[in-house]
Structure formats: C-alpha cells, structure tokens
Subunit: 494 residues, 2 copies
Amino acid sequence: MLFKDATTEEIELKMQESWMAFHQYRKFPLSKRATFMRTIAEEVEALGDELLQITGEETNLPEARLRNERTRTIFQLNSYADACERGDWLEARIDTANDDRNPPKPDIRKMMVPLGPVVVFGASNFPYAYSTAGGDTACAFAAGCPVIIKAHPAHSKTSEMIAYAIMKAVEKNNLPAGVFAHVYGKSFEVGKSLVMHPFTKAVGFTGSFTGGKALYDWANQRKEPIPVFAEMGSINPVFLLPGKLTESAPELAKTIAASITLGVGQFCTNPGLLIGMEGNGLKEFILALGKEIKNSVPAKMLHSGIATSYKEKRKLALAQDNIELISDLEVEENAEGIPTIASASAHAFLNNPVLHQEVFGPYSLLIKCKSKEEMLQVVQHMEGQLTASVMATAEDLQHYEDVVEQVKNICGRFILNGVPTGVEVCLSMHHGGPFPATTDSRFTSVGADGIKRFARPLSFQNWPNEVLPDELKNENTLNIYRTVNDHLTKKIIE
Amino acid sequence: MLFKDATTEEIELKMQESWMAFHQYRKFPLSKRATFMRTIAEEVEALGDELLQITGEETNLPEARLRNERTRTIFQLNSYADACERGDWLEARIDTANDDRNPPKPDIRKMMVPLGPVVVFGASNFPYAYSTAGGDTACAFAAGCPVIIKAHPAHSKTSEMIAYAIMKAVEKNNLPAGVFAHVYGKSFEVGKSLVMHPFTKAVGFTGSFTGGKALYDWANQRKEPIPVFAEMGSINPVFLLPGKLTESAPELAKTIAASITLGVGQFCTNPGLLIGMEGNGLKEFILALGKEIKNSVPAKMLHSGIATSYKEKRKLALAQDNIELISDLEVEENAEGIPTIASASAHAFLNNPVLHQEVFGPYSLLIKCKSKEEMLQVVQHMEGQLTASVMATAEDLQHYEDVVEQVKNICGRFILNGVPTGVEVCLSMHHGGPFPATTDSRFTSVGADGIKRFARPLSFQNWPNEVLPDELKNENTLNIYRTVNDHLTKKIIE
C-alpha cells in the first residue's frame, strides 16, 4: 500500500514541528509570507502536465477542467499574497495617547495576529483549488499560520505532488520545515487526532455535512475549543418568478440545465432546488428543461464513494410520494452520474424533510408553488444556503418583494438572473452561509477575506514606537491603511 | 416575589415578536439604527440619580463608580452609533463587471448583514456597561439585530429601569416593539430556553467560566449551532522583569496594589498573577506590596454569591502546599473581599493546576522564578488571557525577548509598564483573548469592532444598481469607505 495512514507518533512529531515553526513563522513580515506563497504558485505550475495526467486518473475529471482549476489555484495563491501584503485584513487600528484627559488615555494599537497551526482537510471535488495548496492553505499561510494537510484519499498522488511543491517553496524561502506538513489518512482516527491535538488552533474543511459536522463537534469537545470553518455544501435554491418565466423560459432552461450538469453536478454550488410559480411559463420551462437534460450525457464521478452515494440518494429522493420525474436518460445499467430532474408540489416539499436534503450530483428538484404565500412558506422552511438565485424581471422583484427579502436572509450569496455555479475568486465573494451551509456564517472560504478565519486581533497598550510591529509603527513604512483615531488613513503619525 | 422567572410561553411569545421585528429592523438604514442608540443613551441619562441609588443598593458599588460606569455606557452607545453610521464595519467590497473577460466577470458586491435576534446575558460586575443597555446590546442594535436581555438577578431593579428606558427609545423611534425584550430568570432553565430557541441567532455573555461555557455548549448542541461570544474572565498575568524591579519596585507595588484592590477586585482584568524574577528587586517589591495591601480596606462585594465564592476560592488557594501569605489584613470575622497576596515558587505553580484558577476578587498570587527558563515554562503552562502585562526596561525587553514573544501569543491585550484594569472604549481596544478567556479569540466585546460578532457578509451578484442596498450603490450617498476592485475608496462608481 502506497499511502499509509499516519501513526499517532508521526502525528505527534509533525504537530511538535508545526508548533515550533509557528513561533518563527508568525514573526515573519508580510512580504516574506507573500513571497513564499508566490513561490508555491510557481512550484505548482512547474509540475506541468504530469500533474494534470495523474489527477485525471485519480478523479475522472477532464483535462480542460483540471487545467482551469490549476490556473485558479495559482491565481488564489498570488492574489491572496497580494492581499496579505496590502494588509487591509490586519484591521490595524491606532488610538494615540492623550495625557490631557483625566485619567490619561494610553496609546493603544491593534492588529491581526495568527491563531497557530491550522489543519486543512482536502476536498475531493477540488483536487487543487480546495485541497493541498488550495484556498484554506493560502489563507492560513497569509495569516501567519503553519498548515497541516490531511490529504484526501481520493487523490493521494496529486496531494503528494503538490505537497512536494510546497516543501520546495519552504526550502527555497529558508522557512522552518514545520511550516507545512502532509498527512495521509483514510481512517476517521487520523482526522480526529489532528483536530484534537492541543497544538492545532483552527481547522479548514470543504466537504460533506457529515464530515464537517464531525470535525466541528470534536473541536468543540476539546479542553480548549478551536474554530472550525467547514463548508458543507447546500442545495442552492433557484427561484423562478412568473414574469421571467413568461419572458424567457427556453433560455432559463438552457442555462439552468448547463449549471446542473456542469462537472457532473459535483459542486457545492450546484442548483439542487428550483422553485417555480405554476403557470404557462413554468410548463414551458419544464418541457425545455426536460429536453436539455435529455441531450446531456452521464459521466464518471470523482470516486466510487460519491457515485454510490449519488445513486442511493437519488433513488431515495425519487422514491418519495408525489414525486414526478421530469427528465431521465436512457442509460446503461451501471452508468454513473445520471442527470436527473424531478418535481413535487410545494405541499409535498413542506411536509417531507427528505426532499430538503442535498443529492450531491447532477440532480435537481423542481417545486411548484400555487401562490406567493406558498412560495413564502417554502423559503421559511429552508435551511441556510451558500447561494440563492432569483430569476426575475424588474416587475417580478416588485411583486415578490417579500419573497426576495426572505430569500436574502438565508443565503451567503444572492444572485439575480444567474446560476450559482462559477465562484469568482475576488474580495467581494462570500463563499459561506448560514448553517448547515457552513459552521460559521461570519467567514468565507473564497476570497482574501478568508484569511481572517485564521487570525485574531491583538492590542498593544503603551508600547514605544521602536518595539511595535512595523504594521503599527508611526512611520507606516508598509504603507497600509490603518484607522487612526477613528479615521481610515495611510498617513504617518506625527 | 417581585421578579418572576419567565415562563416557557412568555419566552416563546417574546422570541416570536423578536423574529418578526428582526425582519423589519434589519432593513432600517444605519442612520435610523444610530438615532435609536442615541435615544437610548438619552433615556438612560434621564433616569438620573434615582438609578444610581437603586443600583447602589443592589450591588454595593459606590456612587462615584456607578456614575463613571453610566457615563461609559452612554459613551459606548453614542460612539458605537457613530461607528455604525461611519460604516467601516460593513466591510463593503465591490468588484465591478468585466464583459471582456472569458467567461464574463459578473458584478459582485458584499456587505455585512445582521445575524438575527441576539440574546444578551447581563453581567453582575457591570450593571450598566455590560448589562441591559451595555456593550453587547449596543453592538447588536448597530448590527441590525433585535436584543433579548436576560436580566442579571443580582440587579433586577436596575435592569428593569434601563429596560424601560430602552422601550421608551423604541417607542420614540417608532420601531417594532419586538426589537427589544427583557426577560427575568434566576434559574438555569430560562437562560437555556433562550439560547436553544430556534429564532435566537447569537449570544453575548460576560461572566464566569462555568456560566459562559454552559451557554457555549448548549449553543453547539442545537440543530443549528449559533455563535456565542462569552467573555469568561482571566487571571491577567503581570510579568515583573528584573531591571524594572531594581529601578522602581516601590512605584510598581503601589500601582499594582491599586489595580488588585480596585472595585474590590471584581474586574475581569484584575491582575491575579504576578510573575517575578528572584532577586533584591523582587524582595523590595514584595515588602512594598505587603505594606500597600495592609493599608487597603476590605469592602462588601457585589452580592453574597460572589462574596462566598471569593471566600472559598481564596481559602482553597491558600490551603495549597508551599503557598506563602505575603499580605493579609486583620479583619473582623465576617468581612467580605479581604485583599490578599500570596506567593509560590514557579516549581509549585507548574505542578499545581489549582494555582492557575481565577480567584475572582482582590486576590493575587506572586510566582517567583529562579531563571529565565523557568519564567518561559510558566508562560508555556498558562491558558489564554484577556490581558498580559510586562513591567520592563528597554534592556529587560532585549534580554527577555523570548519570554515577551511567548506572552504576546497567549493574550488579547498586551501591556507595557501598565496595569490591566481600565479598559478603554475605543476601536483599537481588543477585549477578547484565547480560550478560556473568551469562547472565540477572533472577536471583542469592547470597542465598535464588537459589532462584527453579530453580522455576516452577504454577496449580491448581478443586481442592478437601483435595487442594491444604499451601502453598495454606485453613488455611495452614505459616503462610506468601500474596497472597489481591491482599492479602498469613498469614490462613487462611474
């Protein structure tokens, strides 16, 4: 067996090294962290086509997709490195002393400092962008935290290649080796040991609800609980309002079908629930959607575990009372990832919790509402979501204002006339949402604001300028924005 | 009995009203929230000396202290109202569309939105500043969240008076009544019901470890876990480095004695642990500290529960092996809040967890270290702290750089040559710290950054300018700072 589960002794050793490295790495200037991250980007790129080939074999993902994902991963590393240096995430605040006040007001200066070693769990559906050198790792390095990767067993070889690329970057930048550790583990026990270790100070995870919730519960049961940011997916409801349906049912059907089947539906932003208002527009949409799906092709899923799970969950969903199949494909018996659309009445949805569950794969359930009141009820029965989309004309938005307001309150990203798949990497992106989409709706795993998951504020009171960190010194040689006496400025302090 | 515990039905009704009010209040503009907060400040002030008198009777706190605390509370409401309107806390981020890119980049805009109803537990030691109209309440209102106060039973009358002041402000500003609710409850059950209620979306707490940890555990056991910010106090270590001791032992003793006995030691920032390097300087300091304490007077504590707890914990601490009493007062048998300093060797401290526990009251333990290595070990065995202070000369800072670096890593506020008591209300203040000081070191309960405990980011993708919230519209009529295409600016978007 090539990849053996880490033993307790190996984990202990890696955590000790990580802890020691933390106390060096946290003192490194932002520029040095950024250079390290940019070197990782270069080293990942240098792995060339061999990486794509191996990942393709491990994940069944097509080359074009992998090429794009690698580009995205490199972009993440570079753009979070820029954000790290720009320093907005430090939330530097300075209140200068005032000796005239009674009692005198001391000089206080605050900035973000790293939490400590971060354990990152690689995601099966993003072997690059949310795995070994992915978003969580980049955010942790930017924050000043060492990273311990728990490699996803579905792409161990990929993870190993990228781990070596990171190790090369560690060496090239003369960083302590403990800044990065790579741990294999198919068993729950390895993950649990990492989360429970006293030197672990935060956890990043992208995956299933069961997996994420287990990590979250372990972390809270520790003597010293630690923050876990687990992104656990969602069903990403798409609301189809009547004006828009009348106006452009065929185009909507085309766009939505493409979004449902993209990447064999293996995205946490896959639109798993469509909510439409009954009428001729919806009828037209259903017909068109059915045709689009009939033109799609099943494809191998990421690994047999996901394929089996999709088969079972899809079967369970379709076996519910009052479920109608809108579109299915004639396929060979053992086909994986069969694109499927079913429909149910709002009444059925409201009374059957099984229909609220995510069916991870190219599956979507269409809910037919008889009235705005029923649509409101559907929203009110929905759990927290990463995204919610509204397909609407300007008139729809007015007539359905209360629905729109309620939808806004349950999601992390709110989309008008667009599909949820395609998560931009930029500062304005929020990839997070109310539970159970994530374990903490106040943080994101996409965009440089994700750095803040792994940092905490520290106030310096009464420290003379020369011993303060550069970020807080009067001179502001790093040229970062700071809030000085309640005013945001880059100015030096006289 | 004047203040009866709320029944399950009463709690259900209040939570329903709170939930309904949330969906109105969250849409109110920042200016309206700020005006509401300023009205509360006025109404609290209007309660006049009658409030001070009643609180004095309930808490044994002297009038001057209460007058100061009320001023602080009013300042908090007004300054968080200013921060609310200034809008930096919204972390507005805008990335404009780019149709030339392939695929086209959508317009995405992000800002903070409120979490929902927040349950706030009043603190016994701050009947104004961390209770009914205190910091947590002000932060929640600024964020756009309704508040449900669980009144502290040790000052029910005070809480009631202030609750009426808030209700007046609600009325004057024509807000829905459910924006604020006041709940009595001596029993654990009332608190638990509030935390477990599905409409509760966050919790604020200041108090004991036992209390805070119970709320945290309940919140995590919910079907939908919610964030709890519990500030649970700490022992606030003060490190006495040899150069500084030699230079100014008597002055240090005076300052530290005053900090230990301030408010009968009933502050979460009370310096409960002094760590000194053995030598003549420390001997001189101990003698001087003993004299200062002998000149202090015991005083009635906040309530009999705290007085009994202090008596018991102090007794337990003093009963440990190898503990020496540095200073005690001759007092009558039933005296409350007896100022006490004991000492122990670093070796004893390292081997006895009882000595690490907070003794809430005017108590401090002095640890004598034989070497820098021993001092390092003491730091490494310390739990997370709200504050840590270092008394040092410039030379000390150089010689003890490794100690100083380690201390920095365990605290939320790091003080040079100053005492931890006296928590400034300003943006640079961090009142939070690694567990067990608080349940989440990434947030603060003092300063306007505390607003962020009760808000989450929401991204708007592809929404036309006219339906976006004012905060994100091109015109920026609110004149707030926003990060537009990675640049912080107040400019309008052309």
